[in-house]
Structures are given as C-alpha cells and as structure tokens.
Symmetry: C2
Subunit: 202 residues, 2 copies
C-alpha cells in the first residue's frame, strides 16, 4: 500500500505494546509531519535509554547507575522491602507517597504456563538481602492475579522461617468504585478482609 520506509515504520511501531495497526499508521504520519529535530530527539531518546539504562545491583530497579536512587537514599527506611514484579510497579507505589522503605524487583512472577519458575526471578538475591538482619518486614506487592498470588504464597513460605515479618497488600473494593459493579472475586476479598470500625465488645 505504502512505499517502503513508511511501511517499515508502521510495521516497527505496530510491534510496540498497546499500539495496533491504525495507531501505528497515525503515529507514522504524525512523525512525517513533525519537525525533523523533534523526530531526531525521539530516535535519540530511544537509543540513549537503551544504551545507558541498566538494573540496580541491589534491587533490580531500572537506573542509570550501579545502585538506584532509592537504594542509595539514606533517608528511606532500610528495614522494609516491598517486593514487586516490575520496575514500573515502583512508580505506581511511589506515587501514593504512603511508603518510605526499599524495593525489590523480581523481574516477573512465577508462571508455569510461561515456563517461568522461582529460579528465573530475582528471589535468591532477595533472600541474600535479608542476611544482615537489618530488614524486619517484607511487603509482598506482586499483582493481585493468579501468577502474583502464587508468587506471593511461594515467597511468604520461603521468608517466614527467616524471622522476618511478611505482609501482603490488601485486596478489596477500589476506592471510588461502585459495589454493584464490583467483580465477584474482589467483592469476596472485600468481605474476607473486612475491618471492624465500631462496637464489637472487645
């Protein structure tokens, strides 16, 4: 349909997550209309990030340095480690401003269907971080889906005997949501995790 380079560009863009053929075409024509300097800046940003970003030697968060900013920050609470599947989960948690401890990025979740077991994740390195006795709590923040739950269960059994508290993020109704539209497993979890707010005698 198109001549070579436009077709190539559309094909390359279509491979990115969340971009379908129509979206790729729209972006391709947007780039053809854009200023050359803007397009070069995009291509440079892609190459630069790929070339300079590596993973923190302690927690495996994406960073430009050997040790990431969070691990280096002395003002954070080094007694807590929040375990997440991916670097981007850290952003979501940081945005809440609720947590001041450290992180550990597993690099995914246990998933037999994808042939990914505990040995494929940064679990050994997590256990090593518990060796010096400084850490007193591990917060399991893997995703609330099957793989995330399996991974959380595996980690809690592995870590509990080491004398470190292990907690899991609460599941329940999303704030601002509508009970009527809550999906049944979430609603079930909300019942399971209900909290006494008044009375009750004790």
């Amino acid at each position: 349909m198109y001549d070579g380079p436009i077709q190539d560009l559309i094909a390359q863009l279509s491979r990115l997550p969340g971009i379908g053929p129509k979206g790729a075409q729209r972006i391709a024509f947007f780039l053809l209309d854009a200023d050359l300097s803007d397009v070069e800046a995009l291509a440079q940003a892609i190459l630069k990030a790929k070339q300079t970003v590596k993973f923190c030697q302690v927690c495996f968060n994406a960073t430009e340095d050997d040790i990431c900013r969070i691990c280096r920050n002395e003002r954070r609470d080094h007694s807590q480690i929040c375990v997440v599947e991916e670097s981007k989960d850290i952003i979501a948690i940081e945005r809440t401003r609720e947590y001041r401890g450290l992180y550990h990025v597993l690099g995914g979740a246990i998933s037999p269907i994808d042939n990914r077991g505990p040995a494929d994740l940064h679990i050994r390195e997590l256990v090593q971080r518990l060796g010096d006795g400084q850490v007193t709590e591990i917060i399991l923040a893997t995703n609330p889906n099957t793989e995330g739950e399996v991974t959380a269960t595996y980690l809690s059994r592995l870590i509990a005997p080491l004398g470190v508290a292990v907690s899991r993020l609460a599941s329940g109704l999303p704030v601002g949501g509508d009970l009527e539209y809550a999906e049944e497993i979430t609603l079930g979890r909300a019942f399971e995790g209900r909290r006494l707010v008044a009375g009750g005698g004790n």
Copy 2:
C-alpha cells in the same frame, strides 16, 4: 521519579498521538527489555522514514519518489480525482478496492478555529490539475464532520463552474450497525439519502 534517560524516553513517547503517560511508560519498559537490535531497528525506521519520505508533486500523497505510485500508474482511471484530507485516507479507500481513479491530498480541511483557510490547503494545485480537460469527475471524500463538510461545500462551489462533475461520498447508516444505536444526525442523513428500491410508479 525515574532517572534521566527513562524519563526522557517516556516524555518523548507521550507526545505521540494516542499514547498517554501510562502507555508511554509501558512502551519505554518494553524497549528496555527488548533486544538492542530491535530497538535500533525502530530508531532507524523512524529516521529513515523522516529522511526519505516526501510528498507527490502531483497529488501530495506521501511517497519516496517525486511522483507517487498511484499517479504513475497508467492502468488507473485518470479521469477521476478523489479529494481527501490526508494521505492516510487514501489507504482506507484503497482497501475497499472500489475506486480505480487518482487522488488529491488537501493536507487538512478548512477550519477557522485552527486558523486554516483554503489558501493553506492544496486547492490551487487541484484546480490546476483540472486544466487539461482530462478529468471529468471530482469525488469529494473529506471527512463527514463540520470541517470536512465546509471544505466539500467550498470545493463544489469552486469546481462546478469548471464543467467537471462533483460528487460527495454518501452518508448514512454504517453497514453492520444497528438502527437503534445510530446517532441522530447520521440517521437523518440516511433518510435524506434514501434510495427507491422497488415500485414507485416511474
């Protein structure tokens, strides 16, 4: 939140049409995880398209050559010109396999709100193409929205006196759609453009 190059990449990706901050973050981490050769291929495709693609000297379609494939094709009907707003509209029309004539890309539509008048579009060049008397029909295929309709009305008034037939794509119910859910202007157009299918006496 992130260190420099990741943040830069996310910011650059967020500027693309149809990509929000979450999508940009997802693509950024996808690229960090991807093979270096794939990432380089993407950056190259972006630069190559930008550097080599230009616009057809006749119809302003995007092309690698001075004259695009469609204008060069002797087997197409050179007596018809279908007028579209953007190069990508040509793809949509070509996909129908209903049309074998030529095209003319205006480069947008008349839009006072965006400060874009007839002089900012390739309208003068369209009129010039009618000069040799080879073209007998102009098909106005600008978008069925306010700007597209204004542009179509402007062009039909401009071209009709030149003795060339001017037609407009039909508006009506989308095939496979449901009358109940048709938006009222579309339904009104469907009535306006109704066709006698049987009887009627003449």
